[in-house]
Amino acid sequence: MIGWLRQHRQALLLAMRRLSRTAGLLSAAVIGIALALPAGGYAVLESLRSVASRASFDPEISVFLPLGARRADAEALGARLRADPRVARMRFVPRDQALKELISVQGLSEMVAALGHNPLPDAFVLTARPDAHETLASDLRKLPGVSHVQADAAWARRLAALAALGRIALWLLAALLGAALIAVTFNTIRLQILTQRDEIEVSKLIGASDAFIRRPFYYLGLLQGLAGGAIALAIVALALALLNRELRPLAESYGSSFRFEFLPAAAAAAVCLMAGLLGWLGAHFSVTRHLRDIEPR
């Protein structure tokens, strides 16, 4: 058992020495740069998603009355809406209040003053019960005394669809680059096996088991993948820091404190582990393919 552990330690140290050579570090850098793309994309997408979910995603429906509608018409419509079981919440926004709200928005007061009269109609703002949004909006359009219905679910749907699209694109990218990682490792290990050819042949002659000969190569693939994953995370952290520095004044001008967040710890660990695993897999393919060719003659 102690001997077995010692052999693993030796193989690990050997792999670390090989990785620390220029070729090993370059391969790790290539892997890191490749993985930085999907990892960074994930970080950006997650940041955007958290913003979108903080914004109210309960889509509201605005029901506008004709401009000249009387208060009694509005009250009749209000009673009707209140009776509809699909309406979860509703409030009445009289045209005077709407105008006040408009004036309170910076920069618009002069414009409203220039109009000379109130251009806004009375309106109801309501929230539908889940799943009833579409049908409710279309039914409301048919009601007498309703001049316009605005259901702002469309942009939310579009955003959700875009986010889903982005996620699929990221997964595709990650899968492609994962395959590239395996290929890069496969080749590094192949070259390593070729340069160790004499040593492998001698080792076989003096009774080294296949496992003993394979071990340093597996460790090399694993370490190279892990190092590549770590490099990817470092690249992402650096890129996000740069982006955030430029983004801050822009976000502040919108009164927002938005910034791109680094990957959550679990996701960052997953990136490293996955890279290590794929490196190990590349080493496995390479070792299986190339070590059998080296037999003492």
Partner: protein, 216 residues
């Protein structure tokens, strides 16, 4: 210790290297295997550590039928057979000491014990003073002695050497053979292939002669 019975070896392409070879070597015996180049000496030696497999017949080493050994069992066979080659097969990217300690890497010895054994093996071949050198700095005879030290560091019960003196001058050759003799005297079974009959006759040991793939 080693027993061949009716062994034949055909290489792909039909070339017949060995035909109906039978002999046996007792434990603690020293046997020379002679014959012209191409008589099949190397092929015969390669059958013992399963570098080659016999086409027919059986090769028994230490009671194991080598020809029928599973691939995964071969390393354990080789750990008990010290191999010495005409071209030494040393690794020139490391010191003499690191070459000799190589077979102990996959044994259960502690690093301290392994280093001690490697030094003891180098001492036996008279090269302890050169343990820090690179093998490339050594003469042919010295390199061959390093190869012997590597072959015996695991204390195998059987030593097999293929033309260990072929590229050496007479003095170096004699020194290398004396080392094999010394190991034989402490109970190691030794099989040495050489084409140099005059060398063989000087020692008065048992001689197997191969002629065109058959024991003459």
């Amino acid at each position: 210790m080693v027993s061949f019975s009716a062994v034949a070896k055909r290489y792909p392409g039909g070339q017949e290297a060995l035909k109906d070879v039978s002999f046996s070597i007792e434990a603690a015996e020293l046997v020379f295997l002679t014959g012209r180049s191409g008589a099949g000496k190397s092929t015969l030696l390669k059958l013992i550590p399963a570098i080659e497999r016999p086409s027919a017949g059986s090769v028994i080493v230490n009671g194991q039928n080598v020809g029928a050994l599973k691939r995964s069992a071969i390393p354990y066979l080789r750990r008990n057979v010290g191999l010495v080659f005409q071209d030494q097969k040393l690794l020139y990217d490391r010191s003499v000491h690191d070459n000799v300690i190589l077979p102990l890497a996959f044994s259960d010895h502690s690093p301290k014990e392994a280093a001690r054994r490697a030094r003891a093996a180098l001492d036996k071949v008279g090269l302890l003073a050169r343990e820090r050198s690179n093998p490339i700095q050594l003469s042919g005879g010295e390199q061959q002695r390093v190869a012997i030290a590597r072959a015996v560091v695991n204390r195998p019960s059987l030593l097999v050497a293929d033309e260990p003196t072929a590229n050496l001058d007479a003095d170096s050759a004699a020194r290398v053979l004396d080392i094999f003799l010394a190991f034989n005297q402490v109970g190691v079974t030794v099989l040495i292939a050489t084409h140099d009959r005059s060398l063989v006759e000087r020692y008065g040991k048992r001689v197997l002669t191969l002629e065109a793939g058959r024991i003459a």
